[in-house]
Symmetry: C2
Subunit: 290 residues, 2 copies
DNA sequence: TGCCCTTACGAAGAGCGTAAGGATG
DNA sequence: CATCCTTACGCTCTTCGTAAGGGCA
């Protein structure tokens, strides 16, 4: 029995439906189905009554609730107790400016859920500055678009995002340039040798907000702009090349923080998940929240 | 976190070494290493001090013991509570005579460990009789060398054992014939048309015991006789053909006993494991225990 | 028809065993 | 140098996501 099953069970209980639980747990709905099914088999009893309006507990499910709570509570307790005597030094996590949304934020909340008592320190900044900190030993783990290979560092390619050029439907001006890192800059200058941006920024969300309000053209991560492309507010610029934007996660080999592996595992999980409904379904509020 | 990790942890604690824990859990020793390592990573603390004379708890490990116990106890409690209101009808398990050792015995003890409160009924007998019971609906799950395909039954090939002919090193007489089932009998008569056995039995272990004490020749499962072949008490009969002996597990599709899946899963696990050290290392005592 | 859940299936990852190597008394 | 544990590697099974289907208002 995996404690994930108990957690999934309770999430369904609290939410009242598999769909909602899936969202809260950041997994697909079929995964919730499979987990509940597995739990039901192990317990030898049906836990939920499925209906068109959601799922409600059977008597057996009702009786399992306190046990599930106890299991999770015991585990949390154990985590607390263990980390209590461990080094109090925080796990220092860095992310390049373009990456804190949504990856760093999701990552931190995942970590907080998983290790409630973990002391962590999050920094957002220029890639090269953070890379220096990694080498200094003043940063433990870094999310960046640029990799720097050193004997003391461990580099892993997390994923490849795609940058596409989009424009406001009505007004293609001004040209807004986002600093997506050194590698992108080089590629971009090769593709558009004579182009000079009217506006430059180092935060994608800022550029996007400007573009939506004032009009303009610029490069953005395809996942991020997908909802506006769908709604017709933005459109792809015909003929503009796409760029690939790798994301690396780096760690110091010398870092022996006990939760380093946990953190690495967590970010690995997150990037494999599809864009969360919340992230794309309510684009307007996403922007205003910044 | 999987509860297996907690169970493994406690087994190591009680036994004092990874090797011993591996034996008790019927897994390889590297598996124990991996599980403990995983647990240590999730807890962010080292649990054992490894030494040449075994493993002892670190302070952190010491503190984790009660939590691990609590986790397992809670889960056992949940199982008890769930099955308490379930049908009281026992899960009826059958096995053909040749299969109760070692498979049925291991299976039952695994089930008892996994589902302490499961009410079960074990029957050993002639394959055809048990097959009839399956069709009658008076048996839920059956381990047999013969398959019978019926719409109401679900058949799965569990594994293929190999029968080899062996003889006592000094004395090849008498010829002892074990009834390994219908399929084997047919194959055997094809291979040895004129042969008539001096002694017939329907229990392999009985034949083996006779053969070891009195001398003789006969067909046995290769895994079972391996230790005596190695020790030189027995030898293969040159030129004698090998026979393949399939093992099927059958279930009634109509059976909705809540623990049926658990049981199926368990036997699937067991057959994938190598012959347990105990089973082959101490052949003499194995025999006398019967 | 829309919502909620299940089934089928392929791909990625986890778990486990074998074989070989390091440490420690 | 024997015992106990770890590492490396390959295989298998599990798990998860995508796509498609069923039941119920």
């Amino acid at each position: 029995m995996d404690l994930n099953l108990a957690r999934t069970f309770l999430t369904v209980v609290y939410g009242g439906s598999f769909v909602l639980a899936a969202e809260r747990l950041c997994v697909s709905q079929t995964t919730v189905t499979a987990r509940i099914k597995s739990l039901e088999e192990q317990l030898g009893a049906q836990l939920f009554v499925r209906s068109a309006s959601g799922s409600s507990l059977t008597p057996a499910g009702e009786r399992f609730v306190p046990h599930a709570q106890q299991l999770l509570a015991t585990w949390q307790d154990a985590l607390r107790n263990m980390s209590a005597c461990e080094r109090k030094e925080p796990l220092r996590i860095g992310a390049e400016t373009g990456l804190w949304q949504p990856w760093l934020t999701r990552w931190l909340s995942w970590l907080k859920l998983e290790q409630p008592d973990l002391h962590m320190q999050a920094r957002v900044g220029q890639g090269s500055m953070l890379l220096d900190q990694m080498e200094n030993g003043t940063l433990d783990i870094l999310l960046s678009h640029q990799a720097r290979y050193r004997p003391a560092l461990h580099v892993r390619l997390l994923m490849e995002e795609t940058l596409v050029q989009v424009r406001h439907v009505e007004n293609p001006e001004p040209h807004i340039q986002t600093d997506w890192g050194e590698a992108f800059r080089q590629q971009f200058e090769l593709a558009f040798p004579a182009q000079h941006a009217q506006i430059e920024t180092n935060v994608g969300q800022l550029a996007l907000q400007l573009l939506l309000e004032q009009g303009g053209t610029g490069y953005f991560r395809s996942q991020v702009v997908a909802p506006w492309l769908a709604s017709g507010q933005l459109m792809r610029v015909a003929g503009a090349p796409e760029f690939s934007l790798p994301v690396y996660v780096m760690t110091r080999k010398a870092c022996n923080h006990p939760q380093l592996q946990t953190a690495l595992h967590g970010i690995g999980q997150l990037v494999r998940q599809p864009p969360h409904p919340h992230d794309s379904a309510v684009p307007a509020s996403d922007i205003t929240h910044e």
